[in-house]
Symmetry: C2
Subunit: 349 residues, 2 copies
């Protein structure tokens, strides 16, 4: 069943059918009703590809979860508890707005081509990128096609420096710096002076922000930043477990460990437990993100909560509105983060 069939049945031309479908104003109510009735009756659905080819939108947005530094493993992106809820919320929000969502994960530069292709092949009207690394080249390529694009967690200053802000672009961030300051100052208030960190992926904006906030806060309070308490991490469980085990074995422990996300905090707790080191009695632990597990493990994890839901929803709204506007616009929102105190930190006072 094609628009031509509908046209015949309704006694009009394809042009008119198309006008009805696209809700153009210049068709009389009677004609519109007639055409609509036939469409209803035959359950006609315009071919989305033909529409797209003729210049209409695809009503599909792309969602790309980028995690380029890791080794091959079928499900590895979801090792990161931060992605899953974003994916879920984006899908639900977009669906509710009448959009399909096309998902692709990116583990390697060649996967990244898939994003560009999705745009170039016109599969999507706009896209959301999450987990973008500091890699302006990649973003520039995308943005230079001037496709509506939303970046979750990206350093705005890089955008400004490259003057990419004259395109259809938006950035959705969280206040990682401020959240981390809250966390560290809370530890300090509890009397901790030897505070360590497991770093996040340092080529992400949030990874850098959390680390910088950690270092700056210690320094501004006159506390030491000790190399042996700075553990390398990548936001993933495995590395965090290994690094924590190493720290535990060294016999030289900080009194508190700030973990750049919850996945790593929980792994650290497990690693300590495996060595018979008790949390929070021997070492306090604090995380970031407030994933579902955080409030259900034992001890319950003190962490910094991010409004992931709102961020995901905002991304969808933003990308849709970017698709709707002809004029290039750049905008940015930063969502607040706040400390959630539970049971994984002990007062030393």
């Amino acid at each position: 069943m094609r628009s031509e069939d509908i046209a015949k049945l309704a006694g009009v031309s394809r042009s008119t059918v198309s006008r009805v479908i696209n809700n153009y104003s210049n068709v009389p109510e009677a004609t519109r009703a007639k055409v609509l009735r036939i469409i209803e009756q035959y359950h006609y659905e315009p071919n989305s590809f033909a529409r797209a080819l003729a210049g209409k939108r695809t009503d599909t947005i792309g969602l790309f979860a980028i995690s380029m530094n890791e080794k091959a493993d079928a499900s590895r992106i979801y090792q990161n508890s931060y992605f899953a809820p974003i994916v879920d919320l984006v899908v639900d929000t977009a669906n509710a707005r009448g959009f399909y969502v096309l998902i692709h994960t990116v583990y390697s530069p060649s996967d990244f081509q898939k994003i560009k292709q999705a745009f170039q092949q016109k599969r999507i009207d706009g896209g959301i990128l999450v987990g973008t690394q500091k890699d302006i080249e990649l973003v520039r390529e995308l943005v230079s096609q001037d496709s509506p694009l939303v970046l979750i967690d990206y350093d705005i200053s890089e955008i400004m420096a490259e003057r990419l802000n004259k395109n259809h672009l938006a950035v959705i961030n969280s206040m990682d710096y401020e959240g981390t300051v809250q966390a560290i100052e809370y530890l300090i208030k509890l009397g901790h002076r030897e505070i360590g960190i497991i770093k996040g992926r340092i080529n992400t904006f949030s990874g850098r922000e959390r680390y910088m906030a950690f270092e700056n806060t210690l320094q501004s309070h006159g506390l030491p930043v000790r190399d042996e308490f700075i553990l390398e991490g990548d936001f993933l469980k495995e590395t965090a477990y290994l690094e924590t085990a190493k720290l535990a074995n060294s016999g030289n422990l900080p009194t508190a460990l700030f973990c750049s996300n919850d996945d790593m905090a929980i792994s650290a707790m497990e690693a300590f437990a495996a060595q018979g080191i008790s949390v929070p009695d021997q070492v306090s632990i604090i995380g970031f993100d407030d994933v579902e597990l955080a409030s259900r493990i034992n001890p319950k994890l003190t962490t910094v909560r991010l409004p992931i839901d709102e961020m995901a929803k905002a991304s969808v709204e933003k990308v849709i509105s970017l698709c709707d506007t002809v004029e290039p616009t750049f905008s940015t929102v930063s969502f607040p983060a706040h400390l959630v105190i539970r049971d994984s930190c002990k007062s030393l006072l």
Copy 2:
């Protein structure tokens, strides 16, 4: 950049360019190389919609998570921990095979239209449905379009009865019945004789299977099936919490409670805890699915493990092979389930 541009640059016709792109055999190596080089050089990407319109595949599969009985709430489908990993694995597997995946959640019959549309509008080559209810009408509609379709968790006998098996169709199931039998017999072996259940959504195949296995196993062991220990459930946390709280308040407890999935088992544990009833001392609890949380809560949940990963992967492989075959085929696989014993069940002997 269109195929025509490439053709000009390569000094051939669009036909030849197309033949190269589609890897047809009847083009000499020299010509092929020449065309390929130009394509490379200009980063040409054929427009996917034009290809699809001209009859090629879309290289996209649809994934539809159906959960029609619930009330409106933006993220409700993911209240169900069973869906999330399936979504994740399907995306990763499909991506690895070069397919995009188009996702849509279905909460209402009108959402369901979106599935049909996705097929009718030719947005996807094939689709995977998860959470399908007993609703052969719906499946028949889809199948009668003869689109490659994979159903996860569906009663095969319904398919056979309707002779839908002459279409491009596959069903991926798990051995819910056998898994439940293992769980119940384990409880019996521990000395339990008063065993209750929280039912799953009874219009799903797995919901029915788990319930039937529960009832049959009790009966075959000469044990009572008491109405007051049969709690209505829908696989979701909230209802399970409420029903368990009611049971706890009644003052009349079974010694063990089989929960039709882990989400409900965990909620039941929380409801009991809130009433000061200790698991497993006062009541043993057993779940189904083995979600991530199961092994991390306290006490660790004894449950029935399902190979969700393999099921998700198999679905993708299946739908892709269905897209590749001209002849209609029907196939079905049932994945094993097995009991994982942890700490939430107590021996009464």
